[in-house]
Subunit: 146 residues, 2 copies
DNA sequence: GATTTATTGATACTCAGTATCAATAAGCAT
DNA sequence: ATGCTTATTGATACTGAGTATCAATAAATC
């Protein structure tokens, strides 16, 4: 679902621009994360990676996930059963919806959240530098197929 | 900071009403979570508990944390370095602010969030049943002491 | 192509969280 | 109060996600 919005080239360029060497594992893992319909854990990504590159190391995947997260290309999903799954980051879209029925992630317009944050900043006095809004429920298609 | 709003009696009553037996560990742990100035992990709570009850078992603390979370008395903080810390749940106050400087948690008025959720529900078509908004930044007192 | 060095992958390790189970003690009945 | 039943505890062993290590590999630059 997010896949159509992600440009694999951009991710490779971002890694390149950050001074990292271009390797085969990078392309494999970027492809996996960019095209998954579901949030993926490093462990899951490892298993997927080994289907096309059987000797892929576990630590390598964890290292790559860390890189991608640090570069802001993927972001952690804070769900009920832990926070070890990742989805691609869509620029300007901070609000994440997770369907409790099918597990898929959807990105919602985050302008209302921006407004809320400024509002809360003014009323609380705290300086807010970052936010994570996680929404849970039943997605439109799961409502239809119910 | 949240401590002044938490009534230990209420928590004990909630556990009692749920059919759990009243034990000494319960009181100890409830006291620890209800009066901590900072989000606490089960591990941290265990260490604190052992100061007053040295033979407190580790598993016991994890089981109690699970109970308290299931009853909605404490809630998980989804922070940068994992989501294994807990704060007391304040009724009707869902928005959580964590100061990156001093680590303290603050609760913000959640009415704006309620509005945002209904708005997003209408525009996305998803049925939203739950939400977690986590705000990060620098609290008012840390801004003064800077 | 040779050199340099970041990256990889196999292995061993850590440690938060969990399963097990005998010992304990809360709740209830007498 | 006393004993009975059974939930809860705590010691121990275990699990498994995540990490440290390090020799082997392969980008990058010349
Ligand atoms: Mn989390
Ligand atoms: Mn602002
Ligand atoms: Zn769905
Ligand atoms: Zn602070």
């Amino acid at each position: 679902m997010p896949s159509k919005c992600i440009n694999v080239e951009d991710w490779l360029n971002a890694l390149d621009a950050s001074g990292f060497r271009m390797t085969a594992v990078q392309e494999t893992l970027i492809d996996i994360f960019a095209h998954s319909d579901f949030p993926l854990s490093a462990e899951q990504a490892w298993h997927v990676a080994r289907q096309s590159r059987p000797k892929t190391g576990r630590a390598t995947v964890y290292r790559m996930v860390e890189k991608l997260e640090n570069l802001g290309l993927i972001r952690r999903v804070h769900g009920y059963q832990g926070c070890s799954h990742f989805v691609p980051t869509l620029p300007e879209l901070m609000m994440l919806f997770i369907c409790q029925s099918c597990g898929r992630a959807d990105y919602l317009d985050s302008q209302p959240l921006q407004d809320l944050i400024h509002q809360s900043e003014d009323s609380s006095g705290h300086h807010i530098t970052d936010s994570r809004l996680q929404l849970f429920g039943v997605c439109t298609s799961c409502q239809e197929n119910a």
